[in-house]
Amino acid sequence: MAAVLAMVARGCGGVWRRLRQRCAVRPGSGPFPRGERAVACNARGGMMSAGKSGLTPWIPVVGLEIHAQISSNSKLFSGSQVQFAAPPNSLVSFFDASLPGTLPVLNRRCVEAAVMTGLALNCHINKKSLFDRKHYFYADLPAGYQITQQRVPIAVNGSLSYSLCIDNKMSQMVTKTVRIKQIQLEQDSGKSLHDDARSQTLVDLNRAGVGLMELVMEPDMCCGEEAAAAVRELQLILQTLGSSQAVMAEGQLRVDANVSVHHPGEPYGVRTEVKNINSIRFLAKAVDYEIQRQIEELGNGGTISNETRAFDSKLGCTVPMRDKEGKQDYRFMPEPNLPPLILYDAKSLPANMNHQQVINIDWIRERLPDLPSVKREKLVEQYGILPEHSFTLLVWQQDQNCNSRHSNEDGLPEFFENVVKQTQMKPKKVIGWILNDLLSYLKQHSLTVKESPVSSFLLADLLNLLEKKEISSTAAKQVMAIKAGNQKVLNKLIGLVQKKTQGRSNPVLVKQLLEKKLSE
């Protein structure tokens, strides 16, 4: 019985189906992970039909809690610097160290970042929001409490729209929405380094007090893929706004997943919280693993406890976390040192207040940049390219293998547009060259678009030749390869020269001459 259940859970003709996915655009350049992917959600977003196996289906419910570090020079309530990787305890003020007699002073930039983010996510901005204290003891929280916004946060009731490929084809994209319950401003904690050998913890308070936006999403998602897609889109939005750089590898974006399963028509099941998810790829894995684990556990007659689990990326599974047993009582109380945060709009703007002390929501709204969804629409409309191509042009892809925090697609839309301007080739064809050839070569050599040895001018030139049928497609690809630094093709050229000159040419000189020519 257990074996059958396990099979069902793993998706052999049952509730979950694992499909081999191949992106229409060359592997590695699409926005979504290639290869095996569990497509477990139907269009309505719920799990359906065990079909042949005849077992009652499980509906997974996934909600995310996301902490985004605000991109600012100084911290939320103090003037110490915000910087990744600095000597321990060098970016710490007396307030951050919670020395007696220190008081919080709110950073204007952090409030603006939260308002921008709230507006971009269609939230209602609370003109009056409050600060609270959340109490718990931990070495990296010197005050013994965190200043947050539990009662009345700065923004509520928003939504995030994201897109997914359904079925096998990249061409079928479906738009989904997840509701944003609230966005609140809060302090980050310091960092703990656990030294189990000496039974001690080393504490670095550089991060203590850095401003965070906590985004709480409603449990509208049903699988790892949806969670991953939603977070990717959120990352793009935050980066476009500049409110957070949202690089997961540097801890600027932290995601905790709340997962539960239930039968259709029944109330939601007990949820577990999954922490320690360090990349988007791991997010999808962690969520899917936890869903499976819960289904198997319940299928075997077990129960799910309301616990916190950590994702172990090496083992690919979730494990219970120590120190988190039992429900925490945070003893929330109002932060007595901070009056309510009042925001204004064009109508309510006070006449005689110092403008530095006033935050105008309408002013911020007018200055919001084009969000990714708008940019993509414009590209599709203007150039007639496919929606999924517009995704690839814009997407911020995290490469788990390297620590680079800038994707190779930085500036790609601009590059594409430049090429289109300078060539007669139709944009629909140009896009193929950008996404297939250029991008893969850049990836091979770990270059950013700005570092591309193939300039937009050069590529446009090449494509013009192709259009006029003066060169073949293969030749064009080879030229691009050489230009992009493909040593093999260069050697082949040298070989050809040797042949032509019947071995009389000096290969070293030939190479030098060729390289000189190519660098022009």
Binding site: L99, D195, D204
Partner: protein
């Protein structure tokens, strides 16, 4: 276990009755004087919970009695009719919340900060592993067992 001993002690009715006896805090009611069970005002579960949360050791009868007195004192607030009154959480509520410009003005005082710490390792503060445990003293059991 120490807490069980306390429980036995509480159930033995060591706390002199008070008038009026106050209910455990957290219940809001307006206008009338609070009435509650004359004894065992603070349950063992609540006590253990408080000790765990606040890392406070109530230790002996005097500590628990002091706690109960404190709760009673605070409960006097219930005598005030607060119907229709918005709770105030800060006397600063009518003040403007000052907004600071996003400039770096503090930090770089590692040496000063570390001077406060008893133990440091290469400019890190040193703390016990994991969560901070509540230190249980050895002598308590005997005292409480004796007070039965």
């Amino acid at each position: 276990m120490r807490v069980l001993s306390l429980g036995r002690w509480l159930r033995a009715g060591r706390v002199p009755p008070r008038e009026p006896a106050s209910r455990p805090s957290g219940h809001r009611h307006s206008g009338h004087r609070p009435q509650g069970p004359p004894q065992q005002k603070v349950s063992v579960e609540v006590l253990e919970h408080l000790e765990h949360l606040a890392l406070v050791d109530f230790r002996d009868s005097e500590g628990v009695e002091r706690l109960q007195k404190a709760i009673q004192f605070a409960d006097q607030l219930h005598e005030v009719n607060t119907d229709g009154v918005e709770p105030m959480d800060s006397v600063l509520e009518d003040r403007c919340l000052y907004l600071r410009e996003d400039d770096v003005t503090e930090g770089n005082c590692t040496k000063e900060l570390l001077e406060n710490a008893r133990e440091t390792v290469e400019e890190y503060f040193v703390a016990p592993p994991g969560n901070i445990p509540l230190v249980k003293l050895e002598g308590q059991k005997t005292f409480l067992q004796g007070s039965k």
